[in-house]
């Protein structure tokens, strides 16, 4: 019996890609932490833009350019509303989470990080929230410190976090929901602690923005980044929220058209945020598609989405535990909508290949969290990540398939 209320399976018909067979079986798409599928209305919004309104933004005086600009800037407002940002001026369009973090590391980092300064991360970070900081540390002589995670549950070490914040690093950058463990970090609590010590905060919302209510003012972070494509939107578009005072004090990080107010042969004056950080022609159609996607997700109700995804994942975790040799990662309580596991004697790649034969799309590998995997003594895990269109029946098929795979290798 489910202890949660799943979303209605009728919304599956909003997603054209789901209606297909893989290896002669109905597709069961459980790789949503990598990217989610797109509803028809997002796909339509992209073609509609290119068919009727395609034009460049902000510089044309003609009808199509006016339309494109209006839709692009309206999308910015939708993003602001979606994450509770105070104004559209605090939203910068990026290519995704990775670019958002690189923007902060390069622009804010250039102005605020020097030799010996601390950058605090957690051990459960995705490579995208590790490598930009390592590059910055190499350039500036800053040092990176890590909040440890404890055991297979992967919960952060709260005492160590407190102690490390007391050492006053310049910034604390952390993942809101871990993509390889399913841990949900207490973002508001952490940001309040950081603020009390004068530490800036960046929240990596790649796995939270599409799955749970997010309000950047409630969280109280300085920066929040997420990707459109993990939130029903197109690939190649995402957003960075920055607190207005932070953005205003930050230098440009890429130069080009669109971000200047006046260019001379000897010097150039830059626009105010957000346009200061958007050099060149942006992904206009992508931004418009993202706005449509966020409205779609918002209308479903993000509380309900979290209940649905987390409910499916908890069900899956509970049933998978019964399979011999099963090692489940992630918290026993409060798990987000994904399950990462290692099966004794069976490599994750073999699990994924065999699941594919059942029409099930899983991810197998290190999930771009190699330092964490090494700490857990694992080269890789298999991961099932759930979203709004997955069903309890699909969880059953997953568990049956994994049980079958385990037998296949033990025979």
């Amino acid at each position: 019996m489910q202890a949660f209320r799943p979303l209605g399976a009728e919304l599956r018909s909003d997603f054209p890609v789901l209606d297909q067979q893989v290896r002669g079986k109905p597709l069961i798409y459980l790789d949503n932490a990598a990217t989610t599928q797109k509803p028809r209305r997002v796909i339509d919004a992209l073609s509609r833009f290119y068919e009727r309104d395609n034009s460049n933004v902000h510089r044309g005086l003609h009808e199509l350019s006016n339309r494109a600009t209006a839709q692009y800037e309206e999308a910015r407002e939708r993003v602001a509303r979606y994450i509770g940002a105070p104004s559209a001026e605090t939203i910068i369009f990026t290519r995704g989470t990775t670019e958002g973090i690189n923007l902060v590391a390069n622009s804010w980092g250039a102005r605020n990080i020097g030799p010996g300064d601390g950058i605090l991360l957690t051990e459960m970070e995705h490579h995208s929230n590790i490598v930009p900081w390592q590059l910055l540390a190499e350039r500036t002589g800053a040092r990176i410190d890590w909040v440890p995670v404890i055991g297979d549950e992967g919960l952060p070490d709260a005492a160590a976090l407190k102690e490390k914040l007391e050492r006053r690093p310049k910034i604390f950058a952390f993942v809101h929901v871990s993509n390889s463990l399913g841990v949900v970090n207490p973002a508001a609590e952490w940001c309040a602690m950081a603020r009390a010590h004068g530490v800036a905060t960046l929240v990596d919302g790649a796995q939270s923005a599409g799955h749970m209510p997010v309000d950047v003012r409630e969280i109280g972070c300085d920066f929040f980044v997420f990707s459109g494509h993990k939130t029903c939107g197109p690939t190649g578009i995402g957003a960075l929220y920055g607190r207005a005072e932070m953005l205003e004090a930050m230098p440009p990080w890429q130069g080009g058209g669109e971000m200047i107010s006046r260019v001379g042969f000897d010097r150039t004056a830059f626009k105010a945020p957000p346009h200061r950080f958007e050099a060149g022609t942006p992904d206009i159609a992508g931004a418009i598609g993202l706005g449509v996607a966020l409205d779609y997700v918002h209308d479903l109700g993000r509380d309900r989405i979290f209940e649905h995804d987390a409910g499916l994942a908890s069900d899956a975790a509970e049933r998978l535990t019964g399979i011999p040799g099963m090692r489940l990662l992630g918290p026993k309580r409060g798990r987000a909508g994904l399950v990462s596991f290692a099966l004794e004697g069976v490599h994750a790649h073999d699990v994924v290949s065999l699941a594919n034969e059942e029409g099930i799309a899983l991810r197998g590998g290190h999930h771009c969290t190699q330092p964490l995997m090494r700490k857990l003594g694992l080269a890789s895990t298999a991961r099932a990540s759930f979203y709004i269109y997955n069903t309890p029946a699909e969880v059953e098929r997953l568990v049956e398939a994994v049980a079958k795979i385990q037998k296949f290798f033990q025979r």
């Binding site: 004697g345 490599h347 790649h349 073999d350 034969e357 590998g365 190699q370 890789s380």
Partner: protein
């Protein structure tokens, strides 16, 4: 489950009980190899004398395809002239990518990865290490050659 092509019994046997696994004493060449897409790591060690592979061993872990491939490879090249091992590398390299016939014998079972392009790297990890160990291409770093022994 229709995986007879990929997971033939011979592959599973080798994967469960790989041959020539462990450290090789008096190795003349040691090559670490890594599949960055999955993090699998493997280290191949050879003892080569007078143009002949006297002994070979490997350490590391990987998926069934990767382990079986390493196991079969060590069996096939042990005691063989380096030139022969090099030719076998080329044949397997082309064969698993559908650009030629697989060698006869148990190694032919690796040909199943043709149907699974994402798994070609798994099947080739040990063989790429062999290529480097035999000096068939310029080292891209990570090669340690010890001349004694």
């Amino acid at each position: 489950m229709n995986l007879s092509e990929l997971y033939q019994e011979i592959i599973l046997d080798h994967a469960r009980r790989p041959l020539n696994r462990g450290e090789l004493e008096n190795a003349t060449v040691t090559v670490p190899a890594e599949n960055p897409s999955c993090g699998d790591e493997l280290t191949l060690q050879l003892r080569v004398a007078d143009g002949r592979i006297e002994d070979v061993r490997f350490t590391g872990q990987g998926c069934a395809i990767c382990m079986a491939s390493a196991s079969m490879m060590t069996r096939a090249i042990k005691g063989k002239p380096s030139a022969e091992a090099g030719a076998l590398f080329q044949q397997v390299h082309d064969g698993v990518q559908g650009r030629g016939e697989m060698p006869k014998g148990e190694i032919s079972a690796l040909g199943g990865v043709r149907e699974f392009p994402q798994r070609v790297k798994c099947a080739l990890l040990a063989w790429e290490a062999l290529r480097e160990a035999l000096g068939l291409r310029k080292s891209s770093g990570g090669v340690v050659t010890t001349e004694e022994g």
